[in-house]
């Protein structure tokens, strides 16, 4: 089981949990399992076509998966996925 870290803005959809376990061999599978276990996260994480919501950043450990293989990025048991909202800087 890998671990998914939930940002403050999403915790009301996971019963207040900051970290949840989830299974899957790639990022897409892990996030879909998270959405199955916590249905209120689904429409925040995914667009209607199943792609990742463009305002959501997902990191494999500390690397943005969009710059790796997106939802196909492989996930190992010891990995942590971190979900964060996209934020401005400057």
């Amino acid at each position: 089981m890998s671990t998914v870290k939930i940002p403050p803005v999403l915790r009301s959809s996971t019963g207040g949990e900051k970290e949840v376990p989830a299974d899957g061999s790639n990022v897409g599978e892990v996030l879909r399992q998270l959405a199955t276990a916590h249905p209120d996260t689904e429409r925040q994480l995914f667009q209607e076509d199943g792609s990742l919501n463009r305002y959501v950043n997902v990191y494999l450990n500390d690397e943005d998966v969009r710059v790796l293989d997106g939802l196909d990025t492989p996930v190992k048991e010891s990995d942590t996925l971190v979900i964060l909202p996209a934020m401005a800087g400057g």
Partner: protein
């Protein structure tokens, strides 16, 4: 004497402080290099007139607007900022006679407020718990409600990355035969897009790596993930890697830059250095350049440079350093 003045005998002579923006030093950090054959260089944008890289961006945006007839003499400039862009714009606007109003989160360090006021800016604070997204949203509402403002909008203004494409990157290429990797902070995207495009034009194999803050972890005030924001100028396909750095790690590395290399820099630079050293450790040889966005003066009140990390832990939960 000449061996110590390898590039230019002085920083140049200019007719105005705005003209003196840019032409910043590139300094090798020998102690941070993880292995022989891999050199790490810091481009010290802290050497700009107001102390940050944003001087380049602010100048580019205002001059571009003037050239295109988008600003009237004496028109009020409005801009959302987490600090540095506002400060740079305030300095340039004060020289050029434009009043300026900035929208900024209320949880930035006190020094940012002082610098803005010093350069004559009016400040409107947005709720700190909404982070920079809150400042952007508030500024956009204000601009929509009052057409007398001109908003440069650094997040969507091509003059932002162009300042780097035509300035920062050209300076780097002038000094180095080869850039193996460039590491920059991801805020508006201007540094990475502008430098990335120019450096990859010179060498398509140059790695472009983004270091980004973990703002989203700290920000409590968003209603949903729909409140996320992606600056329009960012093209993710240009990046080779995008790595986040916690506030804690950023502070640890900022202190490391001071202790090991004598660099007094802002906290975002610590984060960027951390990623630069990681990238360097994965190379066999080459030059890794990272951008120091600002100096450390405006973060002194945070205690980052003088207190041990254990004493800072709690304040790092809500601090905004980017």
């Amino acid at each position: 004497m000449d061996q110590f003045l390898q590039n230019r005998p002085c920083g140049g002579r200019y007719s105005d402080i705005i003209e003196a923006i840019g032409h910043t030093p590139l300094v090798e950090l020998k102690r941070l290099s993880p292995k022989p054959g891999v050199r790490i260089y810091a481009k010290l944008e802290s050497y700009n007139p107001t102390g940050s890289v944003k001087d380049r961006v602010a100048r580019s945006m205002i001059e571009d607007a003037e050239e295109r007839g988008l600003i009237r003499p004496g028109q009020t400039i409005l801009e959302p900022t987490s600090g540095n862009t506002g400060i740079s714009l305030a300095m340039i606007c004060s020289r050029k006679g434009y009043p300026i109003k900035v929208v900024m989160p209320d949880n930035v360090t006190e020094e940012r407020t002082q610098l803005l006021k010093m350069y004559g800016a009016e400040i409107v604070y947005s709720p700190g718990e909404q982070g920079s997204n809150g400042a952007v949203a508030m500024a956009l509402e204000m601009a929509a409600a009052d057409s007398s403002y001109y908003m440069p909008y650094q997040y969507g203004n091509e003059a932002n990355p162009r300042a780097h494409y035509e300035g920062t990157a050209v300076e780097i290429l002038d000094e180095l035969d080869e850039v193996t990797a460039f590491v920059g902070g991801l805020g508006t995207g201007g540094t990475l897009m502008g430098n990335g495009r120019r450096l990859k034009e010179a060498n398509p194999d140059t790695l472009l790596v983004a270091a980004e803050p973990m703002q989203g972890e700290l920000v409590q005030g968003l209603r949903s993930l729909e409140d996320g924001f992606i600056p329009p100028i960012i093209d993710l396909s240009l990046l080779d890697r995008k790595i986040f750095v916690s506030n804690r790690d950023a502070v640890v590395w900022t202190k490391k830059l001071l202790a090991e290399e004598g660099l007094f820099v802002g906290v975002s630079s610590g984060a960027i250095a951390r990623v630069a050293v990681r990238v360097a450790s994965e190379l066999d040889e080459g030059n890794v350049v990272f951008l120091v966005a600002d100096d450390g003066w405006k973060y002194l009140s945070s205690g980052v440079y003088t207190k041990p990390i254990e004493e800072l832990e709690e304040s790092l939960e809500t601090a905004s350093f980017w």
